[in-house]
């Protein structure tokens, strides 16, 4: 038979909030035993005793100094629980909370829940072989190694000593018949189970053992409950969301609607200045408002997203607090894009055509020497990116990543080639970017020079320079670090089978329907090219250069 609920409350800061919460339980008729950390100043302690001490249902338990993860937390809980069970014999369940816990449901609702489950212990208790959520890498070793050093203050010593024990194969014996379990340190146990744990004939032996454990407040009661409990509901009644460092996330005023959707009876940790939360959940406002359906997955998702943003970040974003280095393995750009080299020189109206079949606003030469050739000759593009060549060339790589970030959701298609302000860093960047699709027609950059209809030493020098630049680029594209999808044709190959090559170049970016509607772009006329090449050869260009043109 279960009687009323008793509360053990561990407090160390923000005592005015703890006092508010204590009153909440007292008003519901629940006895409260308060443990004030030894670090609390005498003035604060006296103030709290003065405020609450006269209440017949309040007790203050012997004080310990409870550092994070220390045995003292367990000792303080034991002392407080003993006091509670001794002074209030009618109690059926004992709830362990901290001073920063806030009840999310009316006390009567929790009492009714416990009355309906008089024999059930609500304690998260997971066998260590299944406890794979633990951050920090120690699970079973928490129970088998020694931890004389403080993890917060002497991290190096802590880690080194763990490593040393691993090397030496040191191992503490786990006392029989214990089976190590772990879980949230906030529980609600029945009088029977708690008394059995406190009065266990082997308690001294167990204590000696657990004192050596790492974070015993997450394992002492969780392990012993398995020994003594009649029926365990392995789920904490208290909502706690941990961050990547294993610290509980704080709840603020703007979490009110989120907390209303929790299926837990309490939440921690509440930021002490979150006045709206305290006002809402401790007043009758909670009962007056219509109850929202419990959606705990929504709360999980909220914090998972935050954790994901901290760990992975948003792909392709370079900004003041996210600047992945090249070798970090993070995705380099925000979305797929297509680079066409030489196509606009061989196919008629290529820029327009590629825009039509891919359904995008295709750009011209983004790295054009004079200026950035945005789609439609725009002077400025998404994100207020300027078309000024000087600004682009000041940081060409970020020009590209800015554009891809600002237009995320729309595939970017643009022309690029040796005739542009080609940048070695950008070449490498695109080649090693899995989002890039690079299609190159070797030698096509020569066609505009040919169309100028002039053969002079200056032209030969220009051709030689651009050829060299193309060679450098192709070398990048052939390196073994390439992640981009690359395809290189020669002018001769295109002339032999223009339609097949073009269809292959847009295979992944164009839709079949658009291709059917718009057909393929026709080849531009190349009559007289051979004479131009002959003239160049006769002026002394290397034969190496001409093989791209010979079928």
């Amino acid at each position: 038979m279960s009687g009323p609920l008793g509360i053990v409350m561990l407090c160390h800061t923000a005592l005015h909030r703890a006092e508010q919460v204590a009153r909440f339980w007292l008003e519901a008729g629940c006895p409260v035993v308060i443990h004030l950390d030894r670090a609390v100043s005498d003035a604060d302690m006296r103030a709290m005793r003065a405020a609450l001490g006269a209440h017949p249902l309040v007790r203050f338990s012997p004080r310990h100094r409870c550092a994070w993860g220390s045995w003292q937390l367990v000792a303080a809980t034991q002392d407080a629980a003993e006091l509670l069970l001794r002074d209030f014999p009618q109690i059926g369940h004992v709830l362990l909370i901290s001073g920063a816990c806030l009840p999310l449901r009316p006390a009567a609702e929790l009492q009714a829940h416990l009355a309906a489950h008089p024999q059930t212990d609500f304690i998260e208790s997971v066998a260590i072989e299944h406890a794979n959520w633990i951050t920090g890498g120690l699970s079973e070793e928490r129970f088998t190694l020694y931890f004389p050093f403080n993890w917060h203050k002497h991290r190096w010593a802590f880690d080194s000593f763990v490593e040393l024990q691993r090397k030496l194969g040191m191992r503490r014996e786990i006392p029989r018949p214990l089976r190590p379990h772990m879980g949230s340190q906030w529980w609600c146990l029945t009088r029977e189970t708690l008394s059995a744990i406190l009065k266990d004939p082997k308690r001294k032996r167990y204590e000696r053992y657990f004192r050596q454990n790492w974070i015993p407040d997450e394992s002492y009661f969780q392990t012993l409950a398995r020994l003594h409990a009649h029926q365990i509901d392995s789920r904490s009644l208290t909502l706690v969301k941990f961050d990547r460092n294993g610290r509980p996330n704080l709840f603020y005023d703007d979490h009110l609607q989120l907390l209303r959707r929790s299926d837990c009876f309490l939440a921690r940790k509440i930021w002490p200045e979150a006045g709206r939360l305290y006002d809402f959940f401790l007043s009758d406002e909670l009962v007056k408002q219509p109850r929202l359906p419990a959606e705990p997955s929504k709360i999980d998702r909220y914090f998972e997203l935050a954790e994901h943003q901290r760990r992975e970040g948003r792909a392709g974003l370079y900004m003041q607090s996210r600047f992945p280095s090249h070798d970090s393995g993070a995705a380099k750009t925000a979305g797929p894009y297509s680079v066409f080299c030489g196509f606009d020189h061989l196919f008629q109206n290529f820029e327009h055509w590629v825009g039509q079949v891919t359904g995008t606003r295709a750009h011209g030469h983004l790295f054009g020497r004079e200026r950035v050739q945005f789609h439609g000759g725009a002077r400025v593009w998404h994100g207020a990116i300027s078309d000024a060549a000087a600004i682009r060339d000041y940081n060409p790589r970020m020009f590209l990543t800015n554009l891809l970030w600002a237009t995320r959701g729309e595939r970017q298609c643009f022309a690029y080639g040796p005739e542009d302000a080609m940048d070695h860093e950008v070449n490498w960047f695109m080649a090693t970017d899995a989002n890039a699709e690079i299609h190159v027609i070797r030698g096509a950059w020569m066609l505009p020079i040919w169309r100028r209809g002039e053969v002079s030493d200056a032209v030969v020098a220009e051709v030689a320079r651009l050829h060299k630049r193309e060679q450098d680029w192709l070398e990048v594209l052939e390196s073994r670090w390439v992640l981009a999808k690359c395809k290189v044709w020669t002018v001769a190959e295109i002339r032999a089978a223009p339609d097949a090559c073009l269809a292959e170049a847009v295979r992944d970016s164009a839709t079949p329907a658009a291709l059917a509607a718009h057909g393929l772009a026709p080849l531009q006329g190349l009559d007289g090219l051979q004479e131009f090449l002959t003239a160049l050869r006769n002026r002394g260009l290397s034969p190496q250069f001409f093989k791209d043109f010979n079928t």
Partner: protein, 336 residues
């Protein structure tokens, strides 16, 4: 970094701290109310000159965010700025007629006041035209942010400058005292930043925005730096080196993640491009007290006075911090 490199940075910091002590001789106490500072208060440190028209909104903005005390240096105002500040109960005021340029553009004075009053506090180092926006700033006070930063073991918080501007000529919409400047300067450039890592100080060197797009387009390298670390849990060993762009020890500059994740960061909305800049430009050009021979102000004189429109078709209108976060200008990180 080599041992020698570390030694050099340490020497640089100590020389800076000593210099600040020397330069502080020029500061005269006007009124100090620093006795009222309590241990956990967030403090703001400001150097200013002739900013009377901006002050009412500036002070109210930061009071609402939870700044408890303002420590300000008035550099020779003649528009009543000092008298106005003396009348504010949460302001301590120093004044000086010494050269702004000679005091490393005010940094030496700030470092000295930080050394005296900042230690152990979270401090905000600001200009009067900078307005901090941080994650959840519409629902959580600054102390929520600083508490969280404490819990994460972080001692500094980055907030990049975001230049705001109006649509149309700058002189067309005059700014009135007490008015929210972003009613006028409502637009910004959302995605044209250039970022490089500075190997010596480990900070990111950020340029771009409207000042590079319009005013410095011909000389993008000379565009002003936008990276700032204005919020720091101060210690007497710290020193700002160049404005709030760079601070030593350099671990404080690392307000970014280089493994792909995002750290929490904010934005300083920069209300520079109001009609007030026209008079300011004229004054600063005659004084010659600004960075790099006031090159920036020469550029303003050339472009802004000819009623140039800073606005373009892809300018973004400001809504709130969530918008800035979606655009990728700032981040919540894992502050949920």
């Amino acid at each position: 970094m080599s041992l020698l490199g570390q030694f050099r940075l340490r020497a640089e910091r100590h020389i800076k701290l000593f210099r600040c002590l020397r330069k502080s001789a020029a500061l005269r106490k006007r009124i100090t109310r620093t006795d009222s500072i309590r241990p956990r208060d967030v403090l703001a440190f400001v150097v200013l000159r002739n900013e009377l028209v901006r002050l009412p909104y500036f002070l109210d903005y930061y009071r609402a965010q939870g700044v408890r005390h303002f420590l300000m240096v008035d550099n020779g105002s003649d528009d009543g700025t000092a008298e106005y500040l003396e009348g504010q109960r949460d302001v301590s005021l120093w004044s000086t007629q010494a050269s702004y340029k000679g005091a490393s553009y005010g940094v030496d004075w700030l470092n000295h006041l930080l050394w005296l009053y900042g230690a152990g506090h979270w401090v905000l180092v600001l200009d009067v035209d900078e307005f901090l926006v941080y994650p959840f700033c519409d629902t959580r006070p600054l102390s929520a942010l600083t508490d969280w930063l404490d819990s994460q073991g972080r001692h500094s918080f980055g907030a990049m400058l975001l230049d705001m501007y109006p649509k149309g000529p700058i002189s067309a919409q005059p700014y009135h005292s007490g008015q929210n400047p972003f009613e006028i300067a409502r637009y910004f450039d959302a995605g044209n930043l250039s970022i490089r890592r500075n190997a010596r100080y480990q900070n990111l060197w950020i340029q771009g925005g409207v000042r590079q797009r319009v005013i410095m387009a011909a000389e993008p390298k000379a565009a002003p730096a936008l990276n700032k670390t204005p919020l720091v849990r101060w210690s007497r060993a710290y020193a700002y080196i160049s404005s709030t762009h760079t601070i030593l020890p350099r671990a404080l500059n690392k307000v970014y993640d280089d493994g792909g994740g995002e750290l929490a960061s904010g934005v300083l909305l920069h209300a520079k491009f109001l009609n007030t800049i026209l008079a300011k430009t004229h004054e600063e050009l005659t004084r010659g007290e600004h960075y790099s021979d006031s090159r920036e102000y020469h550029a303003y004189a050339a472009s802004l006075t000819q009623s140039q429109n800073l606005w373009c078709t892809w300018s973004t209108e400001y809504i709130n911090w969530r918008q800035l976060e979606i655009l990728g200008l700032m981040s919540k990180g894992d502050w949920a």
